[in-house]
């Protein structure tokens, strides 16, 4: 059912634009991300998966809000904290888990792992283990879009830390001088590993840096999916119209540590609790119910369905096929040359 006509005319555009089903699907994706991260953490604790991982618990609002307005043919480039972007863009959690478990069924046939999940079929050009690595790649994808005369966009996720890399500045400048359809989405979670933005940036906001490249720089409440979606929608529309790139900074927070080795020595329990009180999922649920777009029972059913999908995904991954060690050099080259 379309929400238009049902919802109060003074509700913010986000609630007018999407149908109730569309909004509930967004909530389901937020739950899928949350449970995916929790499931990955648990699998790691139980020794089912190895390596490291960067969890995005607390950042689901920006991942889903930013990707809601994208088409399959639009591209994203993602980060080391990229599981949410993948799910937002339409990846199948069971194939992501298979990748985590290092199985042939995984998105990268077990060769990439958590930091290199990609799904080219849904326009996801890949997470990236290098901070800032995806920024110029997104600009190149946008250049291809223009050369192919498409009206798609390339959305580039990056963190506050990446905005201190040279690649950020080179990428924004090139996107701007060539007026390419790039939407730069910064998820500012306040810390580049342990160093706060106050200690690492000379300006207060990543969005302030957009001015240096002659593009709009907008700040959104990253824990409010509606705020993210509306800010990003403007940037996407502008890019599709051929008016060039824009930067949206989502102020958000990761409630888990940077990675498995983090002992939380650089921030206070009080700060973490303050942000947990602004958890993007309950915030969205409250608004959905206040607007009469979902009932408490529906919200519970969405959460339970996400939980079931994640549990099935972990089981699928656990039973997957281990790669053959004799094939270690497979896919280094297209023709098998070494």
């Amino acid at each position: 059912m379309n929400a238009v006509g049902r919802i109060k005319p003074n509700a913010r555009p986000f609630y007018q634009k999407y149908s109730a089903d569309g909004l509930k699907e967004a909530l389901r994706k937020m739950y899928l991300i949350r449970r995916f991260e929790e499931g990955a953490e648990e699998a790691y604790m139980r020794g089912l998966i190895h390596g490291t991982m960067h969890l995005s618990i607390g950042q689901e609002g920006s991942a889903v809000g930013a990707t809601m307005g994208l088409r399959t043919s639009d591209y994203i480039t993602s980060t080391h904290r990229g599981h949410g972007h993948c799910i937002g863009k339409g990846a199948d959690p069971k194939l992501m888990f298979a990748e985590f478990f290092g199985k042939e069924e995984g998105y990268c046939r077990g060769r990439g792992g958590s930091m290199h999940i990609a799904d080219v079929a849904t326009g996801n050009l890949g997470a990236n283990g290098i901070v800032g690595g995806g920024l110029p790649i997104a600009v190149g994808a946008a250049l291809a879009i223009r050369k192919q005369k498409r009206d798609d966009v390339a959305m580039c996720f990056f963190g506050d830390g990446a905005s201190n890399e040279g690649a950020f500045h080179e990428a924004l400048n090139m996107a701007a001088v060539w007026k390419l359809p790039v939407v730069f989405v910064c998820e500012n979670n306040k810390y580049g590993m342990s160093v706060s933005t106050e200690r690492s940036m000379a300006v207060a906001n990543v969005a302030d840096r957009a001015a240096a490249y002659g593009m709009p720089g907008v700040i959104a409440d990253g824990n409010c999916i509606a705020d993210v979606e509306e800010a990003v929608a403007d940037a996407i529309a502008r890019a599709r119209r051929g008016e060039g790139p824009a930067l949206v900074e989502c102020k958000t927070y990761r409630t888990r540590g940077h990675s498995r080795s983090d002992r939380n020595r650089y921030r206070t329990k009080e700060e973490i609790e303050e942000w947990k009180a602004r958890d993007p999922i309950p915030l969205f649920e409250t608004e959905l119910m206040a607007h009469g777009l979902a009932t408490g029972a529906e919200v519970n059913a969405i959460r339970e369905s996400a939980e079931a999908e994640i549990a099935a995904g972990i089981e699928f991954a656990r039973l997957g096929t281990d790669p053959n060690p004799a094939e270690v050099t497979r896919d280094v080259y297209s023709d098998g040359a070494a």
């Binding site: 591209y75 480039t77 995984g106 998105y107 990268c108 046939r109 077990g110 060769r111 990439g112 290199h116 990609a118 080219v120 050009l125 890949g126 990236n128 283990g129 290098i130 690595g133 920024l135 110029p136 790649i137 997104a138 600009v139 190149g140 994808a141 946008a142 250049l143 291809a144 879009i145 050369k147 192919q148 390339a154 040279g166 690649a167 080179e170 990428a171 400048n173 090139m174 001088v177 050099t329 497979r330 896919d331 280094v332 080259y333 297209s334 023709d335 040359a337 070494a338």
Partner: protein
């Protein structure tokens, strides 16, 4: 057959690649109306327009990343670095992204890009504009690395590189740009990964790269007058290496020398020596293996010092003579 310079042969390959495939485009610094720092792109911008011959900001890392992204999304970018030394600014995208994406994503993507690197010493440009860094990139699985030494190879190997589904790094020696040679007019490909026996001989195998092929041929000419018959192999590709051609030659000549401009230590000569030492050709060797490479120093400015920093024909003559006469 008509003759072209090495630079003209590259330009012809670029034009023919753009004629054949609308996905091919060129990017780099000052490659538009300026024509490129070494006039390789010349007037291509007037023939193909600014969308296909794109002047980029001085952002080597950014350009390399743009090439990766465009390649992932269906284009075939050919990126010109103004000097090969500037690869140092772009190593993140070359080594972590271009080289690894296909592997990391389980073989589900290709990164069909070409990067062209004007390399080498001899122009008085000193330590930051004269390096031979090809061995750096040849150390990275996922990249292919070629070093054409003649105008005909420059054209044929560049067309093969542009066709290739994987990232290919093309090292062009700056002193070769004005070299003339016969170049067929129609498009043709010279396969990547195949060495070329530039001169047949019985007494010693010389594996040389890039401009050192010509210096080795010059040395072989001088030695021929002394009755020493050197076989000169133009390696042409650093990765993948054509080991079989070298093994066959060494089994015939029983002696091996490697001549290359890059710094001698941990250079391509070490790899070739090791491959021979590991192969059945080892038992055929009648002398120790000789490496003649660049000095263990940056490239100096003073012209005499600059010459002394890389192998020259007289030094190659002496080295090969000693090798053949058992004086090593």
């Amino acid at each position: 057959m008509r003759e072209l310079t090495y630079a003209q042969a590259i330009q012809e390959a670029l034009a023919q690649a753009m004629d054949a495939d609308p996905a091919v485009f060129l990017m780099g610094e000052d490659i538009g109306v300026y024509g490129g720092a070494f006039q390789v792109t010349g007037d291509l911008v007037h023939r193909y327009g600014e969308d296909r011959v794109m002047d980029a900001p001085i952002s080597e890392l950014g350009q390399a990343g743009v090439a990766v992204g465009a390649a992932l999304a269906g284009c075939r970018p050919v990126l010109e670095f103004q000097f090969s030394d500037f690869a140092t600014l772009a190593m993140e995208q070359i080594v972590n992204q271009a080289a690894k994406l296909r592997f990391m994503l389980g073989g589900k993507v290709n990164v069909p890009l070409v990067m062209r690197f004007p390399a080498g010493s001899g122009t008085g440009a000193a330590a930051q504009h004269s390096q031979s860094l090809e061995a750096w990139l040849a150390h990275v699985p996922g990249l292919k690395v070629v070093q054409p030494s003649t105008p005909a190879d420059a054209k044929g190997m560049l067309l093969a590189a542009i066709d290739d589904p994987d990232p290919v790094m093309v090292f062009e020696h700056k002193l070769l740009y004005k070299m003339r040679g016969e170049v067929p007019e129609e498009p043709y490909r010279i396969p990547i990964g195949k060495a070329h026996v530039a001169r047949g001989g019985r007494d010693v195998t010389v594996v040389a790269t890039s401009i050192m092929v010509h210096k080795s041929l010059e040395a072989a000419q001088i030695l021929a007058a002394e009755g020493i018959d050197a076989e000169v192999i133009d390696l042409r590709t650093l990765r993948p290496i054509d080991t079989a051609t070298i093994i066959d030659s060494v089994k015939k000549t029983t002696r091996l020398a490697c001549v290359y401009e890059g710094v001698k230590t941990l250079g391509i000569g070490a790899e070739i020596s090791a491959r021979i030492a590991e192969s059945e050709a080892f038992d055929y060797l009648d002398a120790p293996i000789l490496r003649l490479g660049g000095a263990e120093s940056p490239i100096p400015y003073n012209p005499e010092l600059e010459k002394a920093a890389v192998p020259q024909a007289p030094g190659i003559v002496e080295g090969l003579r000693n090798l053949v006469k058992g004086r090593l």
